[in-house]
């Protein structure tokens, strides 16, 4: 359980931050950690810690599959670099673009379709699927 030791501070912090369903298992030289963080800030803190413990996160020995608590109806901030976020008809880049959400715009979560695509609704009533990577739940 050497990796549990290497990332002990991270696991401890996850516990302190109240990450729910926290689980960690070492398999084939990779520590898998999963759970649900209470907020985007907690999620960011854990990733910062990962980058601190493993410089550049280059060892490939940790997979933090932690998501952020967000139920249907939660407000999400569009966290693209600067561009608009495409809203598509299906949860894939194959889907037609049915709308756009601006950088820093607030939208509403309809459902977490999968880990990568979430169904959202803009305040203008545009509804469709967007890449979850660019959506941050706001407390």
């Amino acid at each position: 359980m050497a990796l549990q030791d290497k990332y002990a501070e991270l696991l401890q912090t996850a516990t302190t931050l109240g990450v729910t369903d926290l689980a960690s298992t070492e398999q084939a030289g990779v520590l898998h950690v999963s759970g649900t963080a209470k907020s985007t800030a907690d999620y960011d803190a854990l990733w910062e810690l990962y980058a601190k413990i493993d410089p550049n996160m280059a060892s490939g020995d940790l997979l933090i599959n932690i998501d952020i608590k967000a139920d249907a109806g939660a407000r999400l901030k569009v966290t693209t670099d600067s561009s608009n976020l495409n809203i598509r008809s299906t949860p894939s880049t194959e889907g037609d673009i049915v709308g756009k959400a601006a950088h820093n715009e607030m939208v509403t979560l309809v459902e977490k379709t999968n880990d990568s695509w979430w169904k959202i609704k803009t305040d203008n009533g545009e509804e469709g699927y967007a890449f979850a990577q660019y959506l941050s739940p706001e407390a």
Partner: protein
Amino acid sequence: MKLTKLLMAVVVSATMLFVSCKPKDADIKADVEKALAADPMMSNTTVDVKDGVVTIGGECKDDACKAHCEETAKAVKGVKSVVNNCTVAPPPPPPPASLTTVLDEATQQTVKDGLKDIPGVTVEFVGDKAVLKGEVTKANRMKIMQMLASAKVLSDVSGLTDKK
């Protein structure tokens, strides 16, 4: 009158006899502790006895174990009733979902989609890993790692260098 006195004496002595024959709380406690110690499903067991009423506490593995502990304690000689304060441990959380990672076509597409807006990075899929190469900013490196983790993809990012 005499009969009444005699009866009273009988009652009093019978009561005293009964009291003295009753197992003492301390003995009951020891017996209950011994009985419960034989149960490997229990931990941090505590036993308190007051006037034959046994209060048991501790951590049980499941509901059946909790019920069994109560029966065990009830069966001990001298126990009038049992207050069962045992707690049942919550089931352990399921193992991390990322353990079942499969690098199928859909997952590969998710990774490619995630990299679409990050310039200067290429990806190849080798075995069960996404091998990334290119020059990235610190912020984009974080984004890439978070994207790979949410797609549950193992990675080799030794080919990613820092943008000056």
